[in-house]
Structures are given as C-alpha cells and as structure tokens.
C-alpha cells in the first residue's frame, strides 16, 4: 500500500500516543483502502482501542498525522472535525445507545441534529434503517428491553443514519454468543457488499477476522506487526502472528537478575 494513493481513504503517518510516560502507540503508519473491510487486530493492551479513538477524533495524538480523504484531522478544530464526523458512523463496544430514548429516537437523533428533514421523512428513514439491521417493529422499544445482539444491531442502524462513507466497529462480537456474533459479522459483510462503505473493525476474535476481513492490520505492543490481505496474514511465518493465529499463550521468561530485581521491589 503506497502513501498518497487515492484508493486509500484513511492514511495514518508516524502516529505516537503517550499517556504520561507510557507510550501506547509507537510511530505507527498504515493505510486503510476505500470500500473494503479492514480489521485492526491485536491482543489486549496493544493500543487498538486507542487507535480507533484517534480515527474517530475522541483523542488527539501526541504527534503524527491522520489523513481522512486526504485531510489531516489532527489539526482540525471541533467544527471542522464535526463535518468529517457526519460522514462517519461508529458502533461502540456496548452499542452506547442513549438509554433515555427509544430505538426510533436513537436512530433519528443524528438526522434530527444534522439535517433539516421533515419529521415524517425521518420516520420513514428510521424504519428503513431498522429494517436493514433486522429490527423492524422494535422502534418503540427502549435499549434496556433488548438483548446485547439487538442493541448492537440498533447501534449499527444509528451509525448508518446519515448514510456514512466510513463505518467503525469497536469489538462488535464482544460479549455475544457465537451464533449472534456470526449474524453480526454477516451483517457487516453485507453492508460492505451493498453500500460499498469503508469499514474498519477493531477486534481480537479470530473467527470474525476470517469472516469479514479483506485487509488486516495487526498491532503488537504499540507497533504495526503486519499490514496486508487476509491471505498474506494466514501465510505469514512471523512468530508472534503464528502465536496469535494458533492461540498459543505468551510465556514470559525472566532472567535471574530480572527476577531478583522484581522481587526486591525496584
């Protein structure tokens, strides 16, 4: 993947994030192709959630550039970024529907806030979006009355409300049973096929990766370990990638000196 390529909708260059002294992302660079499903893969604590927060503008990086459609979002102010956000949909880990509102109101919220559409038009669009994710007839329900899988589907309907160019998913299958998770994965694949959206999924679930990914970016300890297609990932001989794919536990080995220092408390 070359930099400056028009086929890439998101390009990240030399991104560094620090929380205090701890460096979470160490100068990472990659590109996300347009109209494909890209999975950001990695173990817990590798910085993948932090990376997602940078892409959707919830966190500002310490240094580095994030180009979305060729524009650097790290130097934008809130108003400029909000224009970009209108073309993004995000599904959060817990779906993050507003609990005080019904599903209809949740899905209608971005339309009411950002468009001047008539309420009757909004109603029709809301029903279309809910139907799209298989939730027709649930519009009057509150999020607390739904199962985890249904909440996530409703979250997708809300993310799709403004027909975005980009969809971001944070651990879509977390906390779901295998059947529901597979249903959600299938929905993600269908969305790409039908709407040609650029979809970015952050996950560590291997079955999901194999089902939905066109491209994979694998993070490890704050660095990009792998970037390429799913086939290339499967064929990779890298030790840490193989460990991840074959679900082998990480064995930490201490040298005697390290162990002594550790138990001595410094």
């Amino acid at each position: 993947m070359k930099m400056g390529n028009m086929d890439n909708s998101i390009e990240v260059t030399d991104l560094v994030t620090q929380y205090g002294d701890r460096v979470v992302l160490k100068k990472i660079s990659f590109a996300i192709p347009r109209g494909k499903n890209t999975v950001i893969l990695g173990g817990s604590g590798c910085g993948k959630s932090t990376l997602l927060k940078h892409l959707i503008g919830l966190l500002k990086p310490t240094s580095g550039k994030i180009l979305i459609n060729g524009k650097d979002t790290t130097v934008m102010n809130e108003d400029e970024f909000n224009e970009v956000r209108k073309r993004m949909g995000v599904l959060f880990q817990g779906a993050a529907l507003l609990n005080s509102m019904t599903l209809e109101e949740n899905v209608a919220l971005p339309m009411r806030e950002h468009t001047k559409l008539e309420d009757s038009t909004i109603q029709i669009m809301v029903r279309m979006k809910l139907d799209l994710v298989g939730l027709s007839g649930f519009g009057k329900f509150y999020p607390s009355q739904l199962s985890g899988g249904m909440k996530k589907r409703a979250g997708i309907a809300r993310a799709m409300a403004l027909d975005p160019e980009f969809l971001f998913f944070d651990e879509p299958s977390a906390g779901l049973d295998p059947v529901t998770a597979a249903g959600l994965d299938e929905l993600i694949v269908n969305l790409r096929n039908v709407f040609k959206m650029t979809i970015v999924v952050v996950t560590h679930e291997l079955p999901s990766v194999f089902m939905i990914a066109d491209c994979v970016i694998m993070l490890d300890r704050g660095e990009v370990l792998f970037a390429g297609s799913l086939e290339e990932l499967k064929a990779s001989g890298n030790e840490r990638i193989r460990m991840f794919l074959e679900r082998r536990p990480e064995t930490e080995t201490y040298s005697p000196e390290d162990y002594f220092r550790f138990i001595a408390g410094n």
Partner: protein, 268 residues
C-alpha cells in the same frame, strides 16, 4: 530514595498540577455551558425545547411536595423561635416581620437550593456519569453532537427558571406556615398577620432572594455536570462523583449565598 525535601516539593507540585487541571476543566465546562446556552442559539443551533421541558418537570414540578413540606415546617419553626424572644417584649405581632423577611431574603432560596442540590444535582451527576461510563458521551461526540449542548444546556435552562419559581413557592408556603402557627398558638389575627407581613416586606427583599436562587441554579447545574463528566471508570465512580456533587454544590451554594448577601447588604 528521594530526600525529604524532594518528597515534600514533589507532593506540593503534584497537588498543584492536579488542582490546576481541575480548575482548567471546570472553567472549560463553564465556558462551554454558557456558550451553548446563551450564544449558540443565536447562531442557528437551537436549544432542545422538549428536553428542557422534561428537565423542568423533573427538577421543578417533582420537587414541589418536598419543598412545600420543608418550607411549611421552617415557617412554623421560625415563628416559634421568634415568639420565644418577642414575647418578652410584648411584641408578638413582629413575628410576621421576622418570618417574612428571613424567609424571602434567606431561607426560601437556600432551602430550595439545598433540596434541589440533593435531588437534581445528584441526578445530573449520576445521569451524565453513567452515560460517560457506558460510552454514550463518546457516542454523542462521534455523531458530531456536542455533549454540553445536548446534556447540560437543557438542565441549566430548567434550573435557571425552576429554582426561582420554586423559591417563590417556598416563600409563600413558609409565610403561610408562620401565619398558621401565629393564628393558632399566638392568638394573632390572620388578617393582621397578613397585613403586617405585606407592610414589612420590600420588593427588593423578594428580588434579592430570586437573584440568589438563579445563581444557585447555575451553581448546582455546573457542579453536577462537572462531576458527571469527570467519571472515567465504572459504576463505583459514578456513586463517588454523585456524592461529591451534592457535597460540593451545597458548599458552593452557601459560599455564593455569603457573597450575594454581603453584596446586597452594601449595595441595595
């Protein structure tokens, strides 16, 4: 090992840095809240009317019973305490003056504010805090909706209207409590008591009370929302922040009361 001096300066430095950060966060919230409430509606970003009305019902209308009961009791207590002293001088009719002035100038606004801080200030912190914990605030941001405009502005407008309104109500009920007691136990004719109250009260007594109530409404909203937005972790922190919001808003209400009372003493 750092020396004692190093630890002392380190301690002072860390506390100062975290204090400065809190001051910074609080001023930013205040700035944003006033911007989204008073400036942006004139730039084509309207206030959410329905949410505001719903907040007004929750914070104002639903507090009416408790405000009524407490104000009524305090009116009675004030009349009794006043009678205890005034009886010695045979000046029982001045109970009306004392009850009227202390309720409208002081106790009406502050009692209402403390009740609302306990009911609504804590509710604001808990609501925003649990939304923060469930990533709902992040979701708002990612949809391009400013959380301060969406969550805080309706609450601020609701309290700016409802706290003075509740205060007027509290004034009336408190005075009525004093009247009832004086009529029944102190043998003061109700009409005389009423006349005496009207004569003793000045418009400025009531107005200064309402200005205070308005300021208390702002303080309670800002403190509750600030504590809510401070939540980073889970449910446990929501509880902690809720408690902190009640303590801080009652404290700040009294600080502002002191400030306004002093101001009005010299300048009205």
């Amino acid at each position: 090992m750092p020396s004692t001096a190093e630890s002392v300066f380190g301690f002072i430095g860390r506390r100062a840095v975290s204090l400065l950060k809190n001051v910074h966060d609080a001023s930013r919230l205040i700035n944003n809240t006033f911007y989204w409430t008073f400036v942006s509606p004139f730039k084509g970003k309207p206030v959410r009317i329905r949410a505001t009305v719903s907040e007004m019902v929750k914070t104002g209308y639903n507090s009416v019973p408790i405000v009524a009961v407490i104000s009524f009791f305090v009116g009675i207590i004030l009349a009794l305490q006043a009678a205890y002293q005034l009886r010695k001088f045979g000046a029982l009719i001045y109970v009306a003056n004392l009850v009227g002035v202390s309720i409208t100038r002081e106790l009406g606004p502050i009692l209402t504010a403390i009740i609302v801080a306990g009911r609504s200030g804590s509710a604001f912190a808990a609501e925003i805090g649990s939304m923060k914990a469930a990533e709902e605030v992040d979701a708002l941001v990612s949809m391009g909706i400013n959380p301060v405009r969406f969550l805080v502005t309706p609450k601020l407008i609701a309290l700016m209207i409802m706290l003075p309104a509740l205060t007027i109500f509290s004034d009336l009920v408190g005075i009525f409590g004093g009247l009832l007691l004086s009529n029944m136990l102190l043998d003061i004719n109700a009409v005389n008591y009423f006349q005496q109250t009207i004569n003793s009260l000045l418009v400025k007594d009531i107005l200064t009370g309402l200005v205070k109530a308005w300021a208390f409404g702002v303080v309670i909203t800002i403190v509750g929302s600030y504590q809510g937005f401070k939540v980073e972790g889970g449910a446990e922190e929501v509880g902690k922040r809720t408690t902190a919001s009640v303590v801080a808003s009652i404290f700040l209400v009294i600080v502002f009361d002191l400030f306004f009372t002093t101001l009005f003493y010299y300048f009205t």
